[in-house]
């Protein structure tokens, strides 16, 4: 498995995605019209796609990062353990992303 490059790619995506988080907070601090334009974006198909991608990048990067913590501590270096950790990060990231979006839809009918 060559998943370390995915860790790096999701990291770069999250770096750019921080702009979305900053825009959202600035809009909330600015007023109703600015906030409405953020909601118009996050409510659009393209916006939802971006936020969904951002959610997955965050979840995958977190789990993949935990995998790196395990290695930093000196565990999980056997071939089968490496494979297991990598698959856990890959599948776990997708599962958590879908779970978060199910909850989001249950609460507010999606963003």
């Amino acid at each position: 498995m060559a998943l370390s490059i995915v860790h790096r790619a999701t990291g770069i995506a999250l770096y750019v995605g921080t702009l979305l988080l900053a825009w959202w907070l600035i809009a909330a601090a600015s007023g109703p019209s600015a906030y409405a334009s953020v909601q118009a974006f996050t409510g659009s198909f393209f916006g939802k796609l971006i936020v969904f991608g951002y959610t997955w990048a965050l979840m995958h990067h977190m789990l993949s990062g935990i995998r790196h913590f395990v290695w930093d501590l000196g565990y999980g270096f056997k071939a089968n353990e490496r494979e297991a950790l990598t698959w856990a990060a890959l599948i776990g990231g997708i599962v958590l992303t879908v779970l978060i979006w199910i909850i989001a839809y249950a609460i507010g009918g999606g963003r």
Binding site: G11, Y15, T18, L25, A29, M62, G65, I66, I107, G110
Partner: protein, 138 residues
Amino acid sequence: MTYSESHGSPKPPSMRTPLGRVRNLGAAHSGTTDFWRQRITGVAMTLLIVPVLVVILTLVGRNHAGAAQILGSLPIAIILLLFIIASIWHMKIGMQVVIEDYVHSEKLKLASIMANNFFCVAVALASIYALLKLSSGV
């Protein structure tokens, strides 16, 4: 002790060995500081992710007035501030590692690292300022 230090210098030669001078510092002259901070901020975000997700999911579908009220509450603002500080610190270090890995022209590398710092400080300051403004209720 190097040749240049032992000759022509009025000071007595250093007793430190070359290994002693570089140990724990390395080429970056700051040693493992960034490596360690990358781990600290990573653990911090992992601990904060559940409360942060709860906050964001609570805000789904709310209008400006509702969102501003929730974001302005003290515990929520503190959770988000901690997460923002950890994440932007983390991504600043991470992007610097990426730049150092791929950008080999010295001038372009320095410019990229500088741009990375500017971007991260600007995003951090804007986000923090927005949250403080929401907290003050102005």
